[in-house]
């Protein structure tokens, strides 16, 4: 990574509160972060820690209750549909469950064509579009000729998630937010998905944010790691710092509770 780190996405005092009055739930509680260009960041937390809410705020799918998000050093403004559309050209996502990520009534062609249209390619000739889709599919080792006119649910989970990466390949966003991209698919396909994601990042230099509960995955892929507990970041730093030499009790516990294979797994701590 370059020595001169350039800020890509950062947040100041970001807060999300659900509900009103007595039934308020603070999902995300004044979090600050700086994600740099080209970096692979992991946000690690257990279920209910607010990591998915944070992800949705970053994507602009839900509003923020308090705090600001800065995109490329400027305050993010997504108050109109037009501005939102502009923002979404820069930030894209891969969701956890490939089976529910696709509209089951749309063919795979539609999924990919949408991406081309979003990049302003709606007037391209048909042959050019097919060429682009074929290129995107071959990037993730899928054959577009075999996929055309098929529906996403005819693919396996791993293939669907690869198609998701092909989508990102076409969109070429500056930021990719991957929300548990491998937790619903078999371990044998997990490495494939991670490989393609990393290949894509290396080619495009996009900032990649992993949202995960799997601390091992976070350690494997990321440059820096944020540990989230009950809506707050309790610890952050480079992957080695946080996972090999955790300082906070919560992080220590989290790492302790994950089964080990190279070292002895201490069961007495529960």
């Amino acid at each position: 990574m370059a020595n001169q780190k350039e800020l890509c996405l950062s947040g100041k005092g970001l807060t999300k509160i659900f509900g009103l009055g007595g039934r308020k739930t603070v999902a995300v509680d004044h979090v600050d972060f700086d994600f740099y260009k080209g970096e692979v960041v992991s946000i690690v937390g257990e279920s209910g820690s607010g990591k998915t809410t944070l992800a949705k705020m970053l994507l602009g799918l839900i509003s923020t209750t308090e705090g600001e998000i800065y995109f490329l050093g400027e305050k993010r403004d997504i108050r109109t549909h037009r501005k939102k559309k502009e923002y979404w050209k820069n930030i894209q996502a891969i969701f956890q469950d490939p089976f529910s990520s696709y509209n089951i009534f749309n063919k795979i062609d539609t999924v990919l064509l949408d991406c081309i249209h979003m990049r302003g390619g709606s007037r391209l000739p048909r042959a050019k579009k097919i060429e682009m889709m074929t290129e995107a599919c071959s990037f993730v080792n899928l054959k577009f000729e075999e996929l055309t006119n098929k529906y996403p649910f005819e693919l396996s989970g791993g293939q669907m998630q690869r198609l998701m990466i092909a989508r990102i390949f076409l969109l070429k966003p500056k930021i990719l937010l991957a929300d548990e991209p491998t937790s619903m698919i078999d371990a044998s396909s997990r490495a494939t998905i991670l490989d393609y994601l990393m290949k894509l990042r290396n080619e495009t230099g996009m900032t990649t944010i992993f949202i995960t509960h799997d601390i091992g995955l976070a350690y494997y892929v990321s440059d820096s790691v944020y540990i989230m507990e009950r809506g707050r970041f309790v610890e952050s730093g480079t992957a080695d710092e946080v996972i090999l030499y955790p300082r906070e009790a919560y992080t220590k516990r989290l790492i302790n509770d994950v089964p080990k294979i190279y070292e002895e797994w201490d069961l007495s701590t529960v």
């Binding site: 949705k56 994507l59 799918l61 549909h81 939102k84 559309k85 979404w88 050209k89 894209q92 996502a93 969701f95 956890q96 469950d97 529910s100 990520s101 696709y102 509209n103 089951i104 009534f105 749309n106 949408d114 991406c115 979003m118």
Partner: protein, 416 residues
């Protein structure tokens, strides 16, 4: 799509419901083509003619006659003519003539008549017999002898000029006509109603109108419910609050009461079948709206909707392509239920006399209404109301069955 249809037609319940419903539809379409009579034509002078084959007496006289010598003919004729009262009178006479009661079988016409001819004597008196009674017995004897006689009946026609009755011919008891050769035969499978209208023709027309009312009401209700449900579910916030406020308001007021009030205030003259359908539609959208809303709320946070948003699609596009197809099966099921409940609502309204005005079209509810006003149920004229009940039951039953079948296909948790 093809797969879904195949799946649907694998469900036994749907097939049964669908066949019943298509049969009803076919009858409603085909019957008027075969018998193009206006359904509200009054053909019978008098009320509640029984179901049967009506043969023109006038035509049968002039039809070719055939002689058939059938043994039982006379006995059958007498058996049908000899009433309960006559038989009891004969029994009375026979007992008075000293025949033991055990030997008299009043149902056995042949034996009874034999005993009668053996013992009857116009000159004899039985104890306690009044003069009137005596004359009755004389008349009875004459009638029975007349029935048994082989002599024909003569047909006379009044000469228009002279005013003298001229005999045109005689009809003997063994003369028969072929029904096929009688030009005027009317089959009334379900008889006539209180106005003398053919119940079957009326029923078919009524079923058609009721189905139309059901469809219009169902489509209106589903459209309103769907639009409001989609809006309040997807947009949320204030829009949701306002729509839910209205919906809840409609829920607290029983819709049938509302229906009665609206129907009543429209007035008899303004109430056509279409108006009634609209009124029913406008009062029964509430549950569709609520159900659609809850479905949409669970859909709007799904990943594919989020992905569609990230692809920069507009709200309308998302609702139309990412939400609507997912709830389409649900909406179709709701529509089927709305149609069947629309038919029931019309029937309910019409029975109360608040249905469409009575002069134009029959509906299932109106037929029930007429049957009730003219006391068909008290008089035992079952054909005036029972087929209507069966038709209503069959329509709603078949639609609910289709709905359950669809539910089984679209909701895998219910599959067996």
């Amino acid at each position: 799509m093809k797969q879904i249809i195949q799946q649907i037609f694998r469900s036994g319940k749907f097939i049964v419901g669908f066949s019943i419903f298509t049969t009803i539809l076919l009858v409603v379409i085909v019957y008027p083509l075969l018998i193009p009579d206006p359904p509200l034509n009054i053909i019978g002078q008098g009320t509640f003619f029984e179901p049967g084959i009506y043969v023109s007496v006038f035509d049968s006289i002039s039809s070719p006659q055939y002689t058939l010598n059938l043994d039982e003919a006379a006995a059958k004729r007498i058996a049908s003519k000899l009433g309960e009262e006559d038989r009891l009178a004969i029994k009375e006479w026979l007992i008075a003539s000293g025949i033991p009661e055990g030997e008299i079988e009043i149902e056995n016409t042949e034996k009874l008549l034999d005993q009668w001819f053996e013992n009857y004597d116009p000159a004899k008196n039985i104890p306690g017999m009044t003069n009137a009674k005596r004359n009755y017995f004389i008349r009875l004897n004459k009638a029975i002898t007349g029935l048994l006689s082989d002599e024909g009946m003569s047909i006379t026609v009044k000469n228009a000029e002279t005013g003298v009755l001229e005999e045109k011919g005689t009809i003997v008891p063994s003369a028969y006509v072929n029904v096929n050769e009688v030009p005027n035969v009317r089959v009334l499978p379900l008889g006539t109603d209180n106005f003398g209208r053919d119940v079957l023709t009326e029923l078919v027309a009524a079923t058609r109108v009721s189905l139309q009312i059901g469809f219009v009401a169902g489509i209106i209700a589903t459209l309103i419910g769907l639009t409001l449900g989609l809006l309040s579910g997807y947009v949320g916030g204030v829009v949701d609050d306002v729509i839910m406020f209205i919906t809840n308001l409609f829920i607290v007021i029983p819709s049938f009461v509302l229906l009665i009030l609206i129907s009543f205030s429209i007035g008899q003259d303004q109430r056509g079948a279409f108006t009634i359908a609209m009124v029913i539609g406008f009062t029964s959208w509430v549950w569709t709206a609520r159900a659609v809303r809850s479905q949409v709320i669970s859909l709007r946070n799904r990943d594919h909707v989020n992905l569609s948003k990230l692809s920069g699609h507009s709200v309308v596009h998302i609702i139309l392509t990412d939400i609507l197809p997912y709830i389409a099966s649900y909406v179709v099921m709701a529509l089927i239920l709305q149609i069947s409940s629309g038919i029931l609502a019309e029937a309910g309204l019409s029975i109360l006399g608040l249905g469409p005005r009575t002069t134009e079209v029959p509906t299932l509810g109106l037929m029930m209404n007429w049957a009730m006003i003219y006391q068909a149920h008290i008089l035992g004229k079952w054909w005036a109301y029972f087929p209507v009940i069966i038709t209503i039951a069959l329509i709603t039953f078949s639609m609910n069955l289709m709905n359950t079948g669809l539910d089984q296909v679209f909701n895998p948790a219910l599959r067996d």
